[in-house]
């Protein structure tokens, strides 16, 4: 069940959340496969996630 929605900034498709979104959470848009990052909860907003940086990893 979707508990919150936002609009994909890349393709304008609706991005649904099945659990309460968290700031900095990363989701994938089902419309365009863009990787999005939650940048605001109230109001809910997502932006294109930053590119992976050189020292990022596990």
């Amino acid at each position: 069940m979707t508990v919150a929605t936002a609009e994909c900034p890349e393709c304008t498709a609706e991005v649904g959340f099945e659990r309460a979104p968290l700031n900095a959470e990363v989701v994938t848009c089902r419309g365009c496969q863009a990787e999005l990052e939650v940048t605001s909860i109230e109001p809910l907003r997502v932006e294109l996630a930053p590119e992976v940086e050189e020292d990022w990893g596990e």
Binding site: L22, A24, E53, E54, D55, W56, E58
Partner: protein, 299 residues
């Protein structure tokens, strides 16, 4: 009890850890390191432990070096971070502890790097000292390809790319092993298979659960001790000649695809370990106490 969870992005792993903390009624401060002001002379952080899940090595090192000094236990600590985030430091730590690993050389100049490749012999693997997810790793099968890769690295690469690690190529049987070690104990493991020689699941490898008792668990636990311990994922190669070899050690492990595969509640084990080290009565400890109280009552 209060835990600070440091992050850059919230991936599935961070969400699972936050949920595991919530399920235990632990107050959790979820802190984006990118918005965190560090004060080395300040009082530190109001938390009983710090669980670092930042994806950036530089951000982790900055935050942990300040927080650790304030006396709060950090997972993982800076020593483990420094060793594991540098493949050369990892190789040195493993060699120092007598843990078997692929033969490794390193160089910071182009000609010396070529010399290192020639000494290892072909095929050889050229890697950056810092990096993850199988990025910028090359297998070279002859001097011409080694010269080409090294010229590109030294002409176009960043400073980090100019510390070149050269490793013997281990002709593994189409898979490698990843063992999760938490608090010195091997808790779960997967075999990652791929038709490509780079078997990272981040590169499309598929995973199945494996038993971590016996030699696999023992070498993984020895590797974890060698790098300072903590919450780690140990990558093992099965060398047809030398047996199990420790290839790399990950200090900020990903595990979302290994929970169902192994049947082990990895985030639960991680959180229990952090709480235990932070001094909280964990679910495991509470259950043990309940069992011994019941035994006393029935005696």
């Amino acid at each position: 009890m209060r835990i600070a969870l440091l992050h850059t992005r919230i991936r599935a792993e961070e969400r699972l850890l936050i949920e595991a903390l919530d399920a235990r009624g632990i107050e959790t401060d979820v802190i984006d390191v990118r918005s965190f002001v560090l004060d080395p002379a300040g009082p530190g952080i109001e938390a009983d432990a710090v669980l670092d899940r930042s994806m950036s090595v530089a951000a982790s090192r900055a935050a942990l070096s300040v927080l650790e000094r304030s006396g709060v236990p950090c997972f993982n600590g800076t020593r483990t971070l420094d060793v594991c985030s540098d493949k050369l430091a990892t190789a040195a730590a493993l060699a120092g502890a007598g843990v078997p690993a692929p033969r490794t050389l390193a160089a910071v100049g182009e000609q010396a790097a070529l010399e290192a490749v020639e000494r290892i012999g072909y095929p050889a693997v050229i890697k950056p000292a810092t990096g993850s997810w199988g990025r910028l790793i090359a297998r070279v099968s002859d001097r011409e390809s080694a010269e080409a890769i090294l010229e590109h690295k030294f002409t176009l690469g960043s400073t980090l790319q100019k510390t070149v690690v050269v490793q013997e190529y281990v002709d593994k049987p189409g898979r490698d092993l990843r063992i999760f070690v938490v608090g010195g104990r091997a808790i779960a493991g997967i075999a990652r298979s791929s038709e490509h020689w780079i078997t990272n699941t981040a590169r499309g490898g598929s995973a199945t659960g494996i038993n971590v008792s016996g030699e696999i668990g023992a070498i993984s636990e020895a590797a974890a001790r060698a790098v300072g311990g903590g919450i780690l994922a140990i990558d093992l190669l099965e060398c047809p000649r030398r047996g199990l070899l420790v290839n790399e050690i990950n200090h900020s492990m990903e595990f979302r695809n290994s929970i169902d595969t192994t049947g082990v509640d990895i985030p639960g084990v991680v959180v229990e370990h952090v709480l235990e080290r932070a001094g909280a009565p964990t679910i495991e400890m509470a259950a043990m106490r309940a069992r011994s109280a019941a035994m006393e009552a029935s005696a």
